[in-house]
């Protein structure tokens, strides 16, 4: 029997949205302090630190006064924090460290202390994407959708329904940036960003952060962490192509499928066991791919499934219950916020709480369908 691993602390920054008075590093550190407080721990209880790229785990550990015995700087896009949880589970089980702090902070909107986006002209995207006038994910991540629509019959209205469904959730969430209910007509009337995507089918751009404390169940008990533990029952990770043009099939994500299969297998759960689902939603088509690639619905069925309300409040598979990247917040690397909402739902403390959530699945995307990780989280041991 392997050591059981729990998320013992989880918190976001005090505020999300437009925070020009805070640098990316400040957002990391505030989230870290909040997560440590949530776990009832001090910095000296932490011996492992994981975070993405800039500013990176060395600076975060140093700024917090943590002496790390284990670091993970895996930076594979917005899914990275799910990778960090998975890696932390393995590291703790292997005895490399005891208690890991995972942080995210990003000044995605205000760009205070944030790195620049433009790829070097001799890089892979600099040579084979940038010359064609791409402007960030809105013109690359979205490239798969028309092929999916042609092959499955997904309609523009069904694509818009993804944004409508998630706004129903954010309407119930005071921390969400966009809360006003919207209709399919509103979505289709919003400004065209990159056909077939309208503004309301694209994620928000915000400032914010979040952090997690991961440790063994045994150590959480010994330290007396006060919050209900959230168990990591299974995880999976994979990757596909560094540039969207080389994604093998534009109608399905191989990385989503592999990461999902691995997590479900390790957790020994079936789809019927899942009470709550978070699927990274940078753009409206991504939850459609996620529902199919995780196997919750068959190929080409996800658009109708969402339009019929099955993922909305009161539906049988509540999904993106914070409002998601489309309506809650999206700093650029959204995965941390998807995990945070799963933890809240499993603790029974979400703003739009779903009754009786025992098993929650989180699917994180990195880059443009480039990397993926899945976590199976539960309110009880496996």
């Amino acid at each position: 029997m392997s050591v059981r691993i729990v998320i013992a602390g989880a918190a976001e920054t005090d505020e999300l949205g437009k925070l020009p008075h805070m640098s990316a590093t400040q957002l990391h550190l505030q989230a870290a302090r909040n997560a440590l407080a949530d776990a009832g721990l001090g910095k000296d209880d932490i011996d492992g630190v994981a975070t993405v790229g800039t500013p990176g785990p060395i600076q975060i550990a140093h700024a917090l006064g943590i002496t790390p015995a284990w670091l993970d700087g895996t930076g594979v896009g917005g899914s990275s924090f799910l990778f960090h949880v998975r890696h932390a589970v393995a590291a703790i089980r292997a005895g490399l460290c005891h208690t890991v702090l995972i942080t995210h902070g990003e000044s995605g909107r205000s760009r205070v202390g944030a790195p620049r986006f433009a790829p070097a002209p001799d890089s892979l995207p600099g040579q084979f994407e940038a010359p064609y006038g791409v402007l960030g994910p809105a013109t690359t991540f979205t490239l798969t959708a028309l092929r999916y629509m042609k092959e499955t019959g997904l309609t523009h209205e069904q694509l818009a329904e993804v944004a409508v469904a998630q706004r129903r959730w954010s309407h119930l969430n005071p921390r969400a940036m966009m809360r006003e209910p919207i209709t399919v007509e509103d979505v289709l009337a919003s400004r065209m960003v990159a056909y077939p995507f309208h503004l309301l089918e694209c994620c928000l751009v915000t400032d914010g952060g979040g952090a997690l404390v991961v440790t063994s169940e045994e150590r959480a008990r010994a330290l007396g962490t006060p919050r209900p533990p959230v168990y990591v029952l299974g995880s999976g990770e994979s990757a596909e192509s560094p540039i969207i043009s080389q994604m093998e099939d534009f109608t399905t994500s191989a990385a989503f499928r592999r990461a999902g299969e691995a997590a479900f297998a390790e957790a020994k759960i079936s789809h019927a066991d899942v009470d709550h689902l978070m699927i990274y939603d940078a753009f409206a088509h991504v939850p459609i791919y996620g529902l199919e690639d995780l196997g919750f619905v068959g190929r080409g069925e996800a658009g109708a499934f969402i339009a019929e309300g099955h993922t909305s409040p009161g539906g049988r598979l509540p999904m993106n219950t914070n409002g998601g990247g489309l309506s809650y917040t999206h700093t650029g690397m959204y995965g941390m916020f998807a995990i945070q909402e799963s933890v809240r739902q499993l603790r029974g403390e979400a703003a739009a709480q779903v009754p009786g959530v025992e098993v929650s699945v989180v699917l994180g995307n990195g880059g443009m369908f480039a990397s993926a990780a899945t976590l199976v989280l539960a309110d009880r041991e496996g």
Binding site: P121, G126, P137, A145, K150, V193, F250, T331
Partner: protein, 159 residues
């Protein structure tokens, strides 16, 4: 995974135009760009498993063989998928909405490009339509773009 903020409004008076991004070849990609300069769309082909592949890499991504060669393609493709960007990247401000596409070459490989010489509308851009390569001079590099290719029968009827 975010939509970049629109560029700031231009200040009063003329500004020097921002050039479009120019790719900078590396040793592994140089044959591709040399081919483009010569008016040829070249990709790599694995001599072990006889498959073409793109982007440039030193070994076949399928079978792992390093026995690979650069070959000219016919420059014919079909439209695999696309978006019509309504938010111009730097250098594209005067284009109007433009098509960023992924095309599939007859040789079986896909690449990103722009669809040119046709107004970028959903009606004009139909998935799987035939395309052919054209080259645009930019900053000392020639860039492969694609335009609609009409069927020989249609051309004959026209002319």
């Amino acid at each position: 995974m975010s939509v970049p903020a629109p560029p700031p409004p231009p200040p009063d008076g003329p500004r020097p135009p921002v050039p479009k991004p120019v790719p900078k070849p590396t040793p592994d990609t140089l044959p591709f760009w040399e081919g483009a300069a010569a008016g040829e769309l070249r990709v790599q082909r694995c001599t072990a498993c006889a498959r073409h592949y793109f982007y440039p890499r030193p070994a076949c991504p399928r079978c792992g063989s390093q026995d690979v060669e650069w070959v000219a393609t016919g420059g014919r493709a079909t439209l695999y998928s696309y978006v019509i960007s309504h938010r111009p990247a730097p250098g594209f401000e005067h284009e109007g909405p433009y098509a960023i596409a992924v095309v599939e070459l007859e040789e079986g490989v896909r690449m990103m490009t722009n669809i040119v010489n046709v107004e970028a509308t959903p009606e004009n851009l139909v998935l799987d339509m035939p395309l052919r390569v054209v080259f645009e001079e930019r900053g000392g590099v020639r860039l492969p773009l694609f335009e609609p290719a009409y069927e020989p029968a249609a051309e004959a009827a026209e002319g």
